[in-house]
């Protein structure tokens, strides 16, 4: 499934919170079945940019967005776009795991059920498939009735990933998905990201430079609302062309 086609094409994207510009003329193409890491100091606009990719910023009062975000060739900011359908295709994993106060099974089955799937066998297949894809099945298969809140932080985060996968998205947006996890859980999430890219396009925001270097194919460096540099991760961490990128990845500022 791996290819180099452009899954997401962002053109001339500006975003204002009131009068304050948070993103300034962002142009970026995100390739299918690749992991793209967004890096930059706090407040640089990387999370804002990530949220633009499934219109999460629409929920914030006073936000003005200009430019286009094409996903599979269609501008997601067109008025005719169904935001609910969009967010099914573009799933999101947050920094803090947020399972529903329901069983592990119900966490994963919730969205398919909302979408009208009520057949028990079919739901079970979706839950098992999603948990397997999220590398959690072996750990929870005997405790599917256990509360999603009772498992470890790392397992909760993978449960949230399984919950996203249950609606069969094309794209996964991850906003610092491992920042609250211990090294072992972080490693499992990173391994999972690596495996998931075979079937999904992944965009990840991370403050952990080594994590960006380990998991991503492409890295984009944001600074003060601008996209400073984007390139192959290997090159961004060995031979960045922009001095600000080098200073940031070397830990000299930020």
């Amino acid at each position: 499934m791996e290819n180099n086609s452009e899954k997401i094409i962002v053109n001339n994207l500006d975003l204002y919170y009131g009068k304050k510009a948070a993103l300034d003329n962002i142009n970026l193409s995100i390739l299918s079945n690749k992991v793209t890491a967004l890096i930059g100091p706090s407040g640089c606009g990387k999370s804002t940019f990530l949220r633009c990719l499934n219109r999460m910023n629409d929920l914030i009062p006073g936000v003005l967005i200009k430019g286009t975000v094409l996903i599979n060739g269609r501008d997601i900011y067109e008025s005719s776009v169904d935001v609910v359908s969009l967010r099914k295709k573009v799933g999101m994993i947050f920094q803090k795991s947020n399972p529903f106060p329901k069983s592990i099974f119900e966490n994963v089955a919730y969205a398919p059920r909302v979408n009208g799937i009520n057949n028990k066998k079919e739901l079970f297949e979706i839950v098992e498939k999603s948990l397997r894809k999220a590398a959690l099945w072996e750990e929870v298969k005997d405790n599917l009735d256990k509360s999603g809140l009772s498992i470890s932080g790392g397992q909760q985060q993978r449960l949230c990933i399984a919950r996203s996968l249950a609606v069969e998205p094309d794209i996964l947006l991850m906003d610092e998905p491992a920042s609250a996890l211990d090294p072992i859980s972080t490693s499992k999430i990173e391994d999972l990201i690596f495996e998931l890219k075979a079937n999904y396009t992944i965009v990840i925001v991370t403050h952990n430079m080594q994590q960006a270097a380990r998991v991503s194919d492409k890295t984009a460096f944001f600074y003060m609302g601008e996209l400073i540099e984007v390139g192959d991760t290997k090159m961004m961490f060995t031979q960045p062309t922009n001095k600000r990128t080098e200073d940031y990845v070397s830990g000299r500022f930020g």
Partner: protein, 230 residues
């Protein structure tokens, strides 16, 4: 602050490398002088100081290991520490060669005319110049000087071939020359290796400054660069 701590550790590595290069420069200079003058006392001094170079090699290796393990350097910092490790190794070998030179100088001290006639001193000066230039290029990130060193390697290789042929001819003609001639052939091989190590250091400088691996190929790699968007 981690960055400040990293900077301090990096400064310590640079300081060790400066000390190491100074020691190696001194050893090579003294070894060359010992051979040229047949100075046996100088030979003894060179041999006795080799342990200092070995100690610096270990220290620099440990410093590099710590920097990798504790700070996960990237980009220029990464290349500097990688280069430091590689140059460290080359410098230690140059130090060993200085000892080998004085060992041969001791064994051929009674054959001054043979050393002079066979152009060994000219070869040694060319190799010595390469080593000093390579060290200077490393200390000052001087990639032009590094490329000059790389180009000089052929000169020393040619000396090596000429001197070998010359010594073989002399040994054929005069059995008395066989023993010192054999020592001098070994010596020229050592000098040639010194030039090789200097070339390696110069290649490390190109890698450090330009992020290009030039060893084992004529042309530098045309690698894909990230695109600058502003």
């Amino acid at each position: 602050m981690v960055q400040k701590h990293f900077g301090q550790e990096l400064d310590q590595l640079k300081n060790s490398l400066t000390q190491m290069t100074s020691l190696v420069t001194s050893q090579i200079t003294m070894a060359a002088e010992a051979l040229e003058k047949g100075d046996l006392e100088l030979c003894r001094v060179v041999k006795s100081r080799d342990k200092e170079i070995d100690a610096y090699e270990n220290l620099i290796q440990a410093q590099c290991e710590n920097l990798f393990a504790l700070f996960q350097p990237v980009a220029t910092d990464l290349r500097y520490i990688m280069s430091a490790m590689m140059v460290n190794n080359q410098l230690e070998r140059c130090g060993d060669i200085a000892v080998n030179i004085v060992q041969r100088a001791q064994k051929t001290a009674d054959h001054r005319q043979l050393i002079v006639k066979s152009q060994i001193l000219d070869m040694l000066r060319a190799a010595q110049s390469m080593t000093l230039d390579a060290i200077s290029a490393f200390l000052h990130n001087d990639v032009d000087l590094a490329r000059k060193v790389i180009a000089q390697d052929d000169v020393v290789d040619n000396f090596n071939k000429q001197i070998f042929n010359d010594l073989v001819e002399r040994m054929k003609k005069d059995p008395q020359v066989v023993e010192p001639g054999a020592h001098l052939i070994v010596l020229t091989r050592q000098i040639e290796r010194m030039a090789d190590h200097s070339t390696n250091i110069a290649e490390d400088v190109v890698f450090l400054v330009e992020a290009q691996i030039v060893a084992h190929r004529e042309l530098s790699a045309g690698s894909e660069k990230p695109s600058a968007t502003s």
